[in-house]
């Protein structure tokens, strides 16, 4: 059963990492604010639920509204701030997004307070399914398939649509694409907004399971990096593989050696670096 738990948690990691990978793959920027945005998504969903008062249908509304809200915020961040550092060395981009992360984190505490919030399970998905050997929460099954769908959709969008092709061309030669009359900068904004909305979505999805805390962003960011290192940068499949591995390792270790769960994850990462520096499926 822990194995299945691990896969589900892994799915959450996958979703976040895919968002980060999209932004990196398309914009060549590592967004250090990704974790803070994950937290923001969770908190926004919480607020949606509180504002609506009616707990039951609000979850579904939150799944739509929170990522949308975050997408908007992301678009603003991209247009105002990120755009100015596309030509700078990576270190400056990282520092900028790190600053944004700090700001978001503090704003979260300012608005919602320093103590965590909890969120009840949506009634439609509450309860367990009897799988013979053990009972497994329905919500987690839903999570897995929902995330799978989203990832599929994202992949299709990037690989198969014209828009995706434009973006891929824009990475290689921004000015050229611009000259062709295509507004590459608008495309970049869309991609960034999309990438961060995935993180926010993950935040909403994890809300009924683990609630929301102001510093959840930090831990998730580290885990996302571990996933990237293990799976390999710039690779969609790598993000999926890495996310699942990390989720499974974490859940299995909780069974045998709870305190060592995090340490085992890092050990796995160190192992991958040593043996396969590009990550298991890395391309860059």
């Amino acid at each position: 059963m822990q194995l299945l738990n691990g896969v589900v948690i892994g799915a959450i990691y996958v979703l976040i990492t895919v968002g980060l990978t999209i932004v990196f793959g398309m914009l060549n920027v590592i967004n250090f604010a990704h974790g803070a945005i994950f937290a923001l998504g969770a908190y926004l969903a919480y607020t949606v639920a509180v504002m609506l008062g009616d707990w039951v249908g609000s979850f579904w509304l939150a799944i739509i509204l929170a990522p949308l809200g975050v997408a908007l915020i992301g678009a603003v961040i991209e247009m105002l701030l990120l755009r100015q550092v596309y030509d700078a060395v990576h270190e400056y981009q990282i520092l900028l997004t790190f600053g944004v992360a700090l700001v978001i984190q503090e704003v979260i505490i300012m608005i919602w307070g320093p103590i965590g919030k909890s969120f009840p399970m949506p009634s439609l998905l509450a309860g367990v399914i009897d799988l013979g050997v053990f009972a497994f929460p329905i919500y987690r099954i839903f999570l897995f398939f929902f995330i799978g769908l989203i990832c599929l959709g994202a992949w299709l969008f990037i690989e198969k649509t014209n828009y995706g092709a434009i973006i891929r061309a824009g990475i290689d030669n921004r000015d050229m694409v611009n000259c062709l009359g295509i507004d590459i900068y608008k495309a970049f904004t869309v991609v960034f907004a999309f990438g961060v909305s995935l993180a926010a979505l993950a935040g909403v999805l994890i809300l009924p399971m683990r609630g929301a805390q102001p510093f959840m962003g930090d831990t998730i960011l580290t885990l996302t990096f571990v996933v990237l290192v293990i799976g390999g940068m710039g690779s969609f499949m790598g993000a999926i593989l890495g996310g699942l591995i990390v989720g499974v390792v974490e859940s299995m270790m909780i069974l045998f050696w709870p305190e060592g769960a995090m340490i085992s994850i890092f050990a796995a990462m160190a192992l991958v670096i040593w043996v396969k520096p590009r990550g298991l499926l890395g391309s860059r």
């Binding site: 590592i30 550092v85 990282i94 520092l95 600053g99 700001v103 990096f225 060592g260 670096i273």
Partner: protein, 327 residues
Amino acid sequence: MFEAALGRKKPLVDREILILGALLMLMPVVLPYKTLAAEILIYALGAVAFNILLGFTGLLSFGHGALFGAGAYTTGLVLIHLGLHPLMALVCACAMGAVVALVIGLLSIRKVGIYFVMLTLALNQLAFFLVYQWKGLTGGDDGLLSVPRPDFAIFPGMKLPIQTNLQFFLFAWFVFILAILLIRRVLNSSFGRVLVAIKENPDRALAVGYNVRHYKLTAFVISGFFTGLAGGLYAMFMRMVPITAVELFTSSDFIIMSLLGGLKSLYGPIVGAVIIKITSEALSQIWARWLLVLGATFILCVLYMRGGVCGLAQSFFEKRKHAEPSK
């Protein structure tokens, strides 16, 4: 023409260092608390050590909290359990900082650019977890308590007291100045110049024959050595080691101090440390969410002030020099 292009050799102790030393010596007089003065020195040292990597080699490390903490815990532990001479305790801190830097470096320098940054962040978190879990040794969340600060003897029979805040500040000041002299020596050495080349164009540095990996690793170890030293001072300063010493937040402290003060100069991080420490001390009294200001500072520096305060000052003086005809 040749000499003009080449530049001059700087002596070990010159006007710059004397002015720096004098200015820093003013701190306990000017600042409201002497403890703040000592804390500034400690963080300034850590930031300068950090900047060896970022400003001079082009490596952004989020792992310096781990190095700082390594030095702090090592000093704390040897003072508590082994009762070593304080100077020896500091040497142990340096050694441990260097060793941890070596480990982090070996793992991280395999990768370039972004990977490196991400790895150092992850490894810093790992260090945090290790410290947190190993309660027996480190005290975990509560921190390592009751670190002694013994007076020590340099010459037989003569004990140097470091008990009061002022006395400790003077001690820290000596250690700081010595460390800065040494760091400056390294940065101006042949090795240091190659680091700058690596920062400017690592591919070309490799192509002209430098083993870039060796240089990066050595730079990391040196940076760790001095960051550990700062940590050791911190343990003696606080008479304890809080777990925040290993936190990511300490890493980002060094980063913002270097960024704000000026990455390109040896002294930039010192300026940054002074500004950040004083402002955060002042702000935290009136507003609990002053971290917001810190985050905003990060953003503003990256967007508008990449050279930091020192960079601004430098371009200001250069404009004046070009505006006036030389006398």
